[in-house]
């Protein structure tokens, strides 16, 4: 229960926040018109929210401490239990399959289009999950590889008229090469440098795309990127949205298949081991550098494929689609969904991308909430919303 001492403490914390946020929350200046606005209502709000937030924060911190003491370890999330239960599993998966297959025919085109972008984020999230979730490498410039794919399709099509289906594998190879080239110099170093270098790389790609006019047409971008064709047949506008939707569904399924196979493969286990303890992992004879490089390059491959789909869907690419915010959104999807857990990442992508689309009124608070969620998830539930479940081998007791 909440004690008197805690209420007193929360009161002072609320007071601290009221003072702390005073200049920025309460005063609003317009230095051009020389008007000052005092928003005292914000002052009260910060106090009230600060008080309750502090109470809740302390409560959860205590809960976490207690949980740590009575660690039972076998905490399987609901979704995994559903999937493990044979009787529920098949209807559950069938319902999801029917929903996604019927989706473009039931809902109008606008909703299908939003769903496509959410599914592209699912692909990006699953790709980044290999890098961040499994191998534990923080990649903040993931969007650079996404841009590589998108521009590869736009430029190859513009100059040589190469079709979507040929660019798709080409861009995968291109993404892999770019990932290897960037990973090669930086993966020898400690993890936190990687975050900064990838962040820088993402920005470099964007700056080059913006400034190198002859190559990328600068900030104006490349218009009229054609939608994919079906054995030479080009759909109309409505048809091609549905067609791309199914292509994305197929690619997502392919991604899920690959990722789940990778996770329990030799290299997947090496990634997880490397993430958990580098030195012990090396002592077991795993080549640290090569293993990390594979993870990094595979992540890049997926981003590149997603980029091609993105270019085909929007039929227009320009550097503004590949800002740092995009990288951070993808990172949020992985972190909040659950690092290393494919189901978590899929759920995270769908929730984090679809929710702000439909809640237009609050969508400007999107990044604020993402930032806060990242901190909260890391502090209270580092494994994410739906935690990953490692494959376990149990020996049942023999009955005699």
């Amino acid at each position: 229960m909440v004690t008197k001492k805690e209420i007193k403490q929360s009161f002072f914390i609320a007071l601290w926040f009221m003072v702390l946020t005073f200049p920025i929350m309460v005063i609003k200046v317009n230095t051009i018109k020389h008007i000052i606005l005092f928003r005292w209502e914000n002052f009260v709000w910060v106090g009230v929210i600060g008080f309750f937030a502090s109470l809740i924060w302390n409560y959860f911190l205590r809960l976490k401490e207690q949980k740590k003491k009575s660690d039972n370890g076998d905490d399987i999330p609901l979704v995994h239990r559903l999937l493990q239960n044979e009787r529920v599993r098949i209807p559950f998966l069938a319902a999801i399959a029917v929903f996604f297959l019927a989706y473009p025919f039931v809902f109008p085109m606008y909703h299908t289009s939003i769903m496509i972008s959410a599914l592209v984020y699912v692909m990006l999230g699953l790709g980044l999950n290999i890098v961040v979730g499994l191998a534990g490498l923080l990649d903040l410039g993931y969007v650079a590889f996404y841009a590589v794919g998108a521009y590869a399709y736009a430029l190859l099509n513009l100059h040589f008229g190469i079709s979507f289906w040929i660019v798709l594998p080409v861009s995968a190879v291109l993404g892999f090469i770019c990932g290897t080239l960037l990973g090669y110099p930086v993966l020898r170093l400690r993890g936190d440098y990687l975050a900064i270098v990838t962040l820088g790389f993402g920005e470099i790609i964007r700056i080059i795309l913006e400034n190198w006019d002859e190559f990328s047409n600068g900030p104006r971008g490349i218009p009229n990127v054609p939608a994919p064709s079906f054995f030479g047949y080009q759909f109309g506008q409505h048809g091609s949205v549905i067609y791309i939707y199914f292509i994305v569904i197929a690619l997502v399924l392919l991604t899920i298949f690959f990722v789940s196979r990778l996770e329990n493969s030799k290299i997947g286990r090496a990634w997880i081991a490397l993430r958990d303890d580098e030195i012990a992992c090396q002592a077991m004879g795993i080549d640290k550098f090569k293993t990390k490089l594979t993870a990094f390059a595979l992540g890049a491959t997926w981003a590149s494929i997603a980029g091609v789909v993105f270019a085909a869907k929007t039929s227009f690419v320009n550097p503004m689609s590949f800002t740092i915010w995009e990288s951070i959104t993808i990172l949020c999807v992985v972190v909040i969904g659950g690092m290393g857990s494919a189901i978590g990442v899929i759920a995270g992508a769908l929730v984090l991308i679809l929710l702000p689309e439909y809640l237009r009124a609050v969508s400007e608070y999107r990044m604020l909430v993402f930032g806060a969620l990242q901190v909260i998830v890391m502090v209270f539930k580092p494994e994410g919303l739906i935690q990953s479940v490692r494959k376990k081998y149990k020996f049942e007791k023999l009955k005699d």
């Binding site: 601290w16 926040f17 003072v19 702390l20 946020t21 200049p23 920025i24 929350m25 005063i27 609003k28 200046v29 230095t31 051009i32 020389h34 000052i36 914000n42 911190l61 961040v132 534990g136 923080l138 903040l140 110099p185 930086v186 170093l189 400690r190 993890g191 936190d192 440098y193 975050a195 900064i196 270098v197 962040l199 820088g200 790389f201 920005e203 470099i204 700056i207 080059i208 400034n211 993430r275 580098e278 030195i279 740092i324 951070i328 990172l331 972190v335 400007e364 608070y365 990044m367 604020l368 993402f370 930032g371 806060a372 969620l373 990242q374 901190v375 890391m378 502090v379 580092p382």
Partner: protein, 336 residues
């Protein structure tokens, strides 16, 4: 046998690359300098100013990194909040018709106090609960904090650029030199030097400085000899935030406009400077910042100005490949 060949080649490669990296620009540089020395001087002093600002921010990174081995991504935001607070305080007091000297002092004081408070709070919320967690968790939490603070300022204030009226007057006695280096630039360099000296005294000669150095070397051992490690970490954040706030206000005076996003790029550049000098080392951060500031300024002056940021990141990648410990840093050995 194979390893030794590789070793020699690597060393040879480093020497050759080093000579080309210094020699070719140096050769062309001398020709350019002789052709137009005033232009060179302007670029050099501009770079020095820029480097001073980087140094003020980089100190926070390097001190925090030295103590808890964490890249404090939110540090750039602390710097931005410092500048923002100064702007708000200065414009409120300006409208009330206060004396401009008083405004300048109060704006500086408020900016420093508030930045310290923010630095302190950020540490308590986002990093302290993760002290024993894996590094990746703390790093993600830091990114989340940075994102939160940026958007908080954007939503509470404005996403647009706000004009910032310079708090530093054009001193009359500086008039004869103003064509080479403006009064604001001079103030920036002088303030930075004073801050560095004060910080040096703090770290070298005071009790808390000694505690900081001890904590940086070994946290457990430091707590065994009676140092309150939590307090030392908080102090480090507060000191780092204070220098960042000074940098923020000074650069806002120099550039003349600020928005919520200035912390991002400045923070990154300062981080690059800290790595260049050797992260964890205080003199290294200053040296790295000056080197980065001056070389960046010369690069933009003589080559392409639109690739300024690309240049900085290229430098980062080159250092990380050839000398990851930086100019003054020590080689790190990973232990169990």
């Amino acid at each position: 046998m194979f390893r030794s060949i590789e070793f020699i080649n690597m060393r040879l490669l480093k020497i050759i690359l080093g000579i080309t990296a210094v020699g070719i620009p140096g050769f062309f540089g001398i020709k350019e300098i002789i052709a137009d020395p005033v232009y060179f001087m302007e670029l050099f002093l501009g770079g020095l100013t820029r480097g001073s600002i980087y140094a003020l921010i980089a100190l926070g990174y390097t001190m925090v990194y030295g103590i808890i081995q964490l890249i404090n991504f939110a540090h750039g935001e602390i710097y931005m909040i410092g500048a923002m607070t100064a702007l708000i305080v200065a414009s409120v007091l300006g409208l009330w018709g206060w004396n401009s000297a008083v405004i300048a002092i109060l704006a500086f004081v408020f900016a420093i106090v508030y930045s310290c408070a923010y630095g302190f709070t950020v540490e308590k919320i986002a990093y302290k609960p993760l002290r024993n967690a894996p590094r990746l968790s703390a790093l993600i939490s830091a990114i989340g904090m940075s994102l939160f603070l940026q958007n908080y300022v954007m939503l509470a204030q404005t996403p647009n650029f706000l004009p910032f009226e310079s708090l530093i007057p054009d001193f009359e006695f500086w008039e004869p030199f103003a064509h080479i280096i403006t009064a604001v630039e001079m103030t920036i360099i002088v303030t930075t030097v004073i801050t560095m000296i004060l910080l040096g005294i703090l770290i070298k000669f005071t009790k808390i400085g000694k505690a900081m150095r001890a904590t940086a070397q070994d946290k457990v051992m430091a707590s065994l000899v009676g140092i309150n490690v939590n307090n030392v970490i908080s102090t480090t954040f507060v000191v780092g935030s204070a220098t960042a706030a000074i940098g923020g206000v000074l650069i806002a005076c120099h550039v003349g406009q600020i928005n919520f996003f200035i912390g991002f790029l400045a923070g990154l550049k300062a981080f690059i400077a800290a790595v260049l000098g050797g992260i964890g080392s205080v003199p290294g951060a200053v040296l790295g910042s000056l080197v980065l500031g001056i070389s960046e300024s010369l690069f933009t002056g003589y080559f392409w100005s639109e690739y300024e940021d690309v240049f900085a990141f290229t430098i980062l990648v080159i250092i990380l490949i050839f000398r990851p410990s930086g100019i003054l840093g020590k080689h790190e050995i990973s232990k169990v």
